[in-house]
C-alpha cells in the first residue's frame, strides 16, 4: 500500500494541541448540546409551514434525525455479522 514513503517523524512532537485536552472536547460537546437545545426552542417559535401531515409533529426533524441515526448504526452493526470478512478474503 505504500505509494509514497512517509516523511520521517518529527522528534519535537511533544506539543499538546488544543483538542488533546479533555476539557476542550467537553467544551465542544457542550456547544453541540446547547445548539440542539436552541433548535428545539426555535421549533416552537418558527412557523415551519408543514407541507405534509407528518412534518406537523412537534420536533419532527430532530426526532427523525436522532432515531433514524440510531437505527442506521444498529442495523449496520448487525450487518457486520453476515457481511464481514477478513481483509484477504478474496486473495487466495
Amino acid at each position: 500500500m505504500t505509494e509514497n514513503a512517509p516523511v520521517a517523524e518529527e522528534p519535537d512532537e511533544k506539543r499538546t494541541w488544543w483538542l488533546d485536552r479533555k476539557e476542550n472536547v467537553t467544551k465542544i460537546l457542550r456547544a453541540l448540546y446547547g445548539v440542539c437545545a436552541v433548535l428545539l426552542l426555535a421549533d416552537l417559535v418558527v412557523d415551519r409551514h408543514p407541507e405534509t401531515q407528518i412534518e406537523a409533529i412537534p420536533f419532527y426533524y430532530g426526532i427523525y434525525g436522532f432515531v433514524g441515526s440510531v437505527i442506521l448504526v444498529m442495523t449496520a452493526k448487525l450487518m457486520r455479522k453476515f457481511l464481514m470478512r477478513r481483509e484477504d478474503y478474496y486473495d487466495d
Partner: protein, 563 residues
C-alpha cells in the same frame, strides 16, 4: 464563431501531452479545460454539426441547456483533476485522464445514439488506465473487472440502439422511455453506468483501487454521464423514483462499516446518485433542475472529498480508517478542505449541497411521494454519519495514529482550495448555479423553515453520533472487508469454475457416456431386427405368405363359429 466539439478539444489535446515536457506540458494541460470551458460558453444552441452515415443523420454537437450545464461542470472537474495531478510525471496517465474527460464531454453533446455509443465506450477504455496506473496486482484485477462491466454496458447500448433503430427507424437521442425492447436495453446500459442497486458494485470495487489522482477524475465523469443520459432519455419514468430511493438508502449501511476511506466515499457517491435518479424519475421542471444542480455541486464536493483523502493516502501511504487519525496536526489545510466537502455533502446551509438537494426533496413532496421523501430524509441523515462525520473524524481526529507527515503538495492544496471555494460560493450565491439550469428556476432554499428543519435533522443526527460513540455502541473501525454483490463474480463464479464446474462436468461426462451407450445399443438392436440381415426385414417367400393368409382365414372362421 468556433463550432468545434469541446470533447474532441480535450481528446486531440491529450495527444500532445506525451510529446511535451515539464512546465510546457503543465501549461498545455491547464489550458485545455479552460479553453474548453470558454468553448462550451460560446457555443450557440442547436444542432451544430451534422454528418450522414449509415443512412442516418448523426448529430455530433447538439447544444441545449441540459447538455451545456453538464459541459460546464465536466470542464471544471477536468481542470480540478489536472491541477491536483500536476505533480504526476506519467504522461500516459495524464493523457488518459484528458481523453476520458473529453469522451464524457463528447457524449454529453452527442445528439444521436450512435455518437453516444462511440464516446460511451471511449470513456470505458480511457478510464481503465487510471486504475491500471496504480500498478498493483489488486488494481490490475479490479481494472479488468471494471473494464468488463463498462464495455458490457456499451454492448447493451449498441444492442439497444440497433433494436430501436429497427423499431422506430431513428437513432435520435431524445426521450426514449421504457416501451419496446430497445428502450429497455438502453435503460439497462445507462443503469449499469449509473450504478443502479445490484448493478452498482463495480464502482466500490474499482474506484478505491485507482491512483490517488485517478480516483478524483473517475469520481466525476462516468456516473454523472449516466445521470445526464437518464435525464435526456428517461425523464419522468416512474420506475426511476423507486430505483433512486433504494439507491440513496442502501449504500449508507455499507459505508458505515467500511474501513477503506476511499471505498466509504465510493458508497457515498452511489447514495448521492440515488437522489439525482429520484429527481429524474419525478421528471417535473423543478425535479430535473434539482437533478442537474445536484450533479453539478456533487461533482465538486465529491472530488474535494476524494482529493483530501487522496492527499492523506499520498502522504501516509494508507487510506484505511484503522491506520489513520490525528492528522489535523500535520495536515491542517487538508483537514479544513475536507470539512468543507463534508459540510457540502451533508447539506449544511451555506454549502453547495443545500441549494441543490433541497430542490429534489421539494419536488418529491410536491408530487406527493411521501414514502420516498421519508427514505430520502433518512438517507440525508445517513450522509451526515458516514461522509459528514466519519470521513473527517476518523481521518483527521479521533484516536491519534501518531503519524506525522508533511502537508499535501501545493498543487493538491490549490485544487482543494478552488473546489472548497466553489462549494461555499454555490452555497452562498445559488443563483449563479440556478441561472444555468435547464429550466427557469423559481426556488428559494433559504427560507426560515427550511434552514431550521435542515439544521434540526443534521444536528440531532450528530447528537446521535456523539451519544453512540461515547457509549461505545458505535461500531469500531476494523481491518476487514464487507461482502457486496461483487461476491457473486469474485467468489461464487470462482467456486463454479474451480469446484462446481469440474464436478458438474464429470457428472455430465458420466451421464453423456451412459446416454451414448444406451443410444448405441438401441441403434444396434434396431439394426439387428430391421437391418439388411434382421429377422423383421427379411423378404419372405410366396409360400409363407399363402400359409399366413390361410392362418388368418382359419382364425376368422374360428371366431365366426364361436359367436
Amino acid at each position: 464563431m468556433i463550432e468545434f466539439p469541446p470533447g474532441l478539444l480535450l481528446i486531440f489535446g491529450a495527444l500532445l501531452v506525451p510529446v511535451l515536457h515539464g512546465p510546457l506540458r503543465a501549461a498545455w494541460m491547464l489550458a485545455l479545460p479552460i479553453a474548453g470551458f470558454v468553448l462550451v460558453y460560446m457555443l450557440p444552441e442547436g444542432d451544430l454539426m451534422m454528418v450522414s452515415a449509415f443512412g442516418q443523420e448523426l448529430e455530433l454537437l447538439r447544444v441545449d441547456r441540459l447538455s451545456r450545464v453538464f459541459g460546464y461542470i465536466f470542464m471544471i472537474a477536468s481542470l480540478l483533476g489536472v491541477i491536483y495531478a500536476l505533480h504526476v510525471r506519467a504522461a500516459g496517465e495524464q493523457a488518459a485522464a484528458l481523453v476520458y474527460a473529453g469522451a464524457a464531454i463528447g457524449a454529453v453533446f452527442a445528439g444521436d445514439l450512435v455518437t453516444l455509443f462511440v464516446y460511451w465506450e471511449l470513456t470505458a477504455i480511457a478510464s481503465v488506465f487510471l486504475i491500471l496506473a496504480r500498478r498493483t496486482p489488486e488494481a490490475r484485477a479490479a481494472a479488468m473487472r471494471y473494464l468488463i462491466v463498462q464495455v458490457g454496458s456499451g454492448v447493451l447500448l449498441l444492442a439497444g440502439l440497433i433494436v430501436r433503430w429497427h423499431e422506430t427507424g431513428s437513432v435520435a437521442f431524445d426521450n426514449i422511455g421504457l416501451d419496446g425492447a430497445g428502450g429497455l436495453l438502453i435503460f439497462l446500459a445507462f443503469g449499469i453506468k449509473c450504478a443502479f442497486p445490484l448493478l452498482h458494485n463495480w464502482l466500490q470495487d474499482s474506484y478505491p483501487q485507482a491512483t490517488v489522482t485517478g480516483t478524483v477524475i473517475l469520481s466525476a465523469f462516468t456516473t454523472k454521464l449516466a445521470i445526464y443520459a437518464l435525464a435526456r432519455g428517461y425523464a419522468g419514468t416512474e420506475e426511476l423514483i423507486w430505483i433512486g430511493a433504494a439507491m440513496a438508502a442502501f449504500p449508507i449501511f455499507f459505508a458505515l462499516i467500511e474501513n477503506d476511506m476511499r471505498r466509504v466515499l465510493a458508497y457515498s457517491l452511489n447514495n448521492q446518485l440515488g437522489f439525482m435518479v429520484v429527481g429524474i424519475g419525478i421528471g417535473t421542471e423543478l425535479a430535473l433542475n434539482g437533478a442537474a444542480a445536484h450533479a453539478f455541486s456533487h461533482i465538486i464536493y465529491k472530488a474535494l472529498l476524494f482529493m483530501s483523502v487522496g492527499a492523506v493516502l499520498h502522504r501516509t501511504g494508507t487510506a484505511l480508517g484503522t491506520n489513520l487519525g490525528g492528522l489535523y496536526k500535520s495536515m491542517p489545510f487538508t483537514t479544513v478542505f475536507c470539512i468543507v466537502g463534508a459540510a457540502s455533502i451533508s447539506v449544511f446551509p451555506l454549502f453547495s449541497g443545500f441549494v441543490s438537494k433541497s430542490m429534489i426533496l421539494a419536488a418529491v413532496v410536491d408530487e406527493g411521494y411521501i414514502a420516498v421523501w421519508l427514505v430520502l430524509l433518512f438517507a440525508s441523515a445517513g450522509v451526515l454519519h458516514y461522509s459528514g462525520i466519519k470521513i473527517p473524524y476518523f481521518t483527521f481526529f479521533a484516536h491519534d495514529s501518531g503519524k506525522r507527515v508533511k502537508e499535501a503538495p501545493w498543487n493538491m492544496l490549490v485544487a482543494m482550495a478552488i473546489a472548497a471555494a466553489l462549494c461555499i460560493g454555490i452555497g452562498v450565491y445559488p443563483s449563479a448555479l440556478y441561472n444555468i439550469l435547464p429550466f427557469p428556476v423559481d426556488f428559494n432554499p433559504y427560507t426560515n423553515s427550511h434552514v431550521l428543519t435542515q439544521l434540526q435533522l443534521l444536528l440531532f443526527s450528530a447528537l446521535a453520533f456523539t451519544v453512540l460513540i461515547r457509549s461505545g455502541i458505535y461500531p469500531l473501525q476494523m481491518r476487514t472487508i464487507n461482502l457486496d454483490t461483487d461476491w457473486f463474480y469474485r467468489r461464487l463464479a470462482r467456486f463454479v469454475r474451480n469446484v462446481a464446474y469440474p464436478l458438474g462436468s464429470s457428472t455430465y461426462t458420466g451421464l453423456r457416456r451412459a446416454a451414448v451407450r444406451r443410444a448405441e445399443r438401441f441403434v444396434y438392436q434396431l439394426y439387428r431386427h430391421h437391418g439388411p440381415q434382421g429377422a423383421l426385414a427379411r423378404s419372405w417367400p410366396t409360400g409363407s405368405m399363402v400359409m399366413w393368409v390361410a392362418v388368418l382365414l382359419g382364425g376368422y372362421l374360428l371366431l365366426y363359429f364361436i359367436q
